[in-house]
Every structure is written in structure tokens, then in C-alpha cells.
Amino acid sequence: VSLVILFALPGLVGIALWLARPSARASRFASLLAGVAILVLALRLVDATSGGIVLAHAFGGWRPPFGIAFAADRLSALFVALHAVLLLVALVALRPESHGEVVVRRAHPLLFLLSLGLFGSFLTADLFDLFVMFELVLVTSYLLLQVPGTRRSLAATLPTLVINLVASALFLAGLGILYGITGSTSIADLGRELPGAPPELRRVALVMLVLAFATKAALVPFCFWMPATYPTLSAPLAALFAGIMTKLGVYALLRIMPFLVLDPLLPELLVWAGGISALLGVLGALAQYEMRRLLAFHSVSQVGFVVLASGLGSVAGIGGAIFFALHHSLVKSALYLVADELERRNASRDLRRMDFRHAGGVPLVGCFIVAAFSLAGMPPFSGFFGKLGVFQAAFESAAWVGLALLVAASVFTLASMLKIWSFAFQRLPGEDSVGAGSRSGGLPLLAMIFLILGLGFAAGPVQEYSSAAAGALLDSSGYDEAVFSTPGRLGPSEAR
């Protein structure tokens, strides 16, 4: 039942905030309260599922494959907790004083409705329900992109919407074919039916799903909507989006991974797509001068790492992918908060207009160094362990080309971080650099930095957790059993 509360709470808060239209301060107070409550619930979910227990709930008492069920295993719980953390950080960072009262009041209800969609996506045990949740996430993120209300935000949003709608159409088409060949859209039921399904139709349907999820995850060549949209978002929202939105596509890919490994072609495809994304994404980043665009191209590259690792199809690969996704969310979110601070101090989004005087103070320099070193994969930080896991998995699976692409991408990652460093933190003031602007609160940024450091020091246990989650994903017997044995009217045995 706690699954239903976790799913319903953000929705109710969002609707209440939307209807009550409180002042920015009251809205912030209520949002922070709700954010903390959601985080507590999410952490309790992680605790409840960490021993390998799968929680399940069938709506209306109809048991799958007839009803729609929610189920939470370790993978779901991890992504739910990740979003709860990022949501709270974004809520703390989004202050009326630094981001405008109108922005805050517009964004709060939408943020909670976005959380409703994301929690639904992470918790659902049914692919059609996942489609509906994807649409919910798409509509709220479309509205959040409109929050600044500038011409640029509108111009960037419409292409994003169109691309994502095409992806949705592909998702639904693939889903229709899957339903046609198996008679079910329940994930647990598909796991039983798909091995015996006609392989050609199964391949067509799964390729459609992979293309849809790759668009959400922003893999090359479906990535270009992302660098266009993130610079126009309000900065705390950009931090949240960078952390979780690409991970939604990654989560969906991971969830259908047991189906993809049935077909030898599809994991191979993911390895190639991931490797190419990793390299081209970082090369795209190197060419940028706008800091947030640079970071967005980086996300393309890092998602490539995750997708390559999961395409290996082994427990080590998928476990490495889960850990890397977690690490990348935290680091990228922190880097967007650093970008916000740099942008407003320099009164510019362009690296060429920044200089060292406005990068001032040890805290910001320290925060950037921790996040950038972690992203580049330096040893004491989380990124090192993430990359180590992915490289080891690629080595074990003898994916040499993929490994070479990832190594090249890593080198360029370091180079692109050095580019930010040399412009924003070292550059001497030139004639086109402008005076100092305002500051935003540094508390959420510091919290993210401590989380990144913590993930670096606790890398061992977290990696154990993620490989356990990967093992449970590939051998889905526990998940299936939990879903099929939810208390309900009709079970699969009575139906067939």
C-alpha cells in the first residue's frame, strides 16, 4: 500500500498547490514539507526492498495479466529515491529571491505532477501504464520548459515536444505489436510469453521500443532536443532535468533488458549506439561555449556509457550501468547548480564572457573540482568507480570496440572539464566580461557535493546493491512471483 501513497502524494500536493495558488513563500514552505515527506517515503521503500523483497500492488483487485499492478524491486526503489533526492534539492534551490516569484509559483505544482509521472514510471509493472506515465512526464516537462516564458524557451520547447511525440507514437506502435503477439502488456507476463513469440515480430516491436526509449535517453542521433532545451530552463529545474529525465529512458531500457537479450541483435545494437553516443556526445560538448549546452552534450556522452554497459547484457554490465546512472545523475545535477552560480555572477551564459574574478571563493572552486573530477573519473570520487565497473564489464564481455570508444570519450571528458576550468575559473578579465551579478543560495550545491563524496566512499556497498538489482532484473522470478501473487480476483492460473 505504501506504493500507492508514494505515487499519490506528489499528485495530491501538485493539484492542491495548483488549485490553492498560494503566495511564493507559502508555496515554498508547503513544497519543502512535501519534498521531505516524499524523500522519507522513498528511503523507506529502498529499505523495504533492499533485501530482495519485491513489493506489489494490483489496482482494483485485478491481478495481472488482467489488471494493472505496481511493483517495486531494488531497481525501482533506487530510481525513486534518486528522484526524491533531486526533487528536494531542486525545491531548496528554487528560491523566490534568486529565481523570481512567478517562476517559483508556476513551477511548484508542475514539479509535483512531474514527480507523479516519474514515480509511476519507476513503479509500474505494466508497459502500457509506462506509456501513460511517459505522456504525463512529457506534458509536465513541456509546461516546466515554458515556465520562464521567454521567446527562446518557447522556440526550444516546440521541437522537443514534436520529437518526443514521434517517440511516443513509436512506443505505442511497438506496444501494440507486443500485445498482438503475446496478449499482454504486463512486464511479468511478457517475460513468460515473449521467449515463445514469433522472433521477427518480436524484433520489430522491441526495436520500436528501443528507439522510443533512446529518444527519451537522448542517445545519438536522437539527442539534439536536449542541448537546445536545458539552457532555457530555470536553473534548479535544469539541475533536476539533467539528473532524472535522461534516466527515465535509461530506466525503461533496463526494465525491458530481459526481453532484449532474447534477441542477439538488440544488445549488440545498444553497445554500438552507446559507444558512438559516448564519443560523439563529448565531441559535441567540446565544441560548445555556452556552459549549459556543453553540460547537456555531456549527458549524451554519459548516457552512452550507461547504455553500452547495459547492452553487454551481463550482470556486471547492467550493475555497472545502474551505478553509473546513479553517479551521473548526482554529478550532473551538481554541475548545473555550479553553472547557475557562475552564470549569475558573470551575468552571462557564455564561457567566453566569464572570468576568474567572478568564480571567487573556495566553496565554488571546491564544488566544481569535486564534481568535474568525479565526472572525469578521477580515483577518489564516484566517477572512478562507475567507469571502473563499466570498463571491467566491457573487458569481460570482450567488447573491444566499445571499450576503445569509452576510453577515448573519457579523455575528451577531462578535456571538456578543463575547458570550463580555463574559461570560468582562470581567464583574465577581458573587455567583453561584465560586472558581477547576484548569487543564489549555495546550500543545495553543498548537499550535492557531500552526496557525491559519500557515493565515492560508499562505492563498495552501492555497487553490491546495483549488481544485486541487475541480477534480480535478469532473473526476474522474484519480480514475477510478487506481481502474480498480489491479492486479487483473477490469477494467471485461473485464466488459462
Partner: protein, 130 residues
Amino acid sequence: LLPVVALAVFLLVTVGVYLLLHRSLLRIALGLGCLGHAVHLLVLSGGRWGARAPLIKEGVRPQDVGDPVSQAFVLTAIVIALAFTLYLLVGMAAQTRRGGVPELAPPPEGDGEREADEILAELEGRETET
């Protein structure tokens, strides 16, 4: 019946993709509509005729009954598609009202030649149009 449906899906996808390749937002909205309906037909035809559902009265042969599950899927998808079409059209109207053309353009990059004050106001959310 199935070959006819397959032909309809083929035609709708063709027209949809053709329209999507234009810059005009109206054509794109129509193209997305065609693509969406192609997918809806596909899902319906993928449903199982002679379904397992027990909603049958006396004298009706099970194989004549459509699959209610895929109908429910399509119904949901149609509602969602309608809502998104509206959003797209509203976005188009907003863009036109702000002096733009109703076309999909590559989004502007960077700060351009704008003044620092202006950019700072945007970053701080002071100048939000409604």
C-alpha cells in the same frame, strides 16, 4: 479486413512522415495526427479477434467480438494525442503572438548580442511574460 487496415496504416504513416518533414507547425500537427492514427489502427489490428474477455451474450460468436483491451489502449492514446495536439497548437499561437512565424525553427543558441542586465533579469526570473 486486415489487408485494408494494413494499407490504411501504410498510407497514414506515409502522409504523416511527409507532413512531419515540413517546417510549418500546422503541417507538423497534422502529420503527428496522421502518424498517431496510423499507430492506433495498428494497435487495434494487433488486438486479438475472438478475445478472451467474457462480455458475450447469447447468440454472439466469440470470434466476432473485438478485443476490448486494445480498444481501451487506443481510447487512452486518442485522448492523450488530442491533448498534445492542443498543446502544440497553443504553442504555435503563442509563438505567432510574440511576433514569430508559426514554424519550427532551430532554437537560438547562446546570449547573442544582448546586454548583461537583460540576461541577468532572465536568469533571476524577473522578466517573465505571461
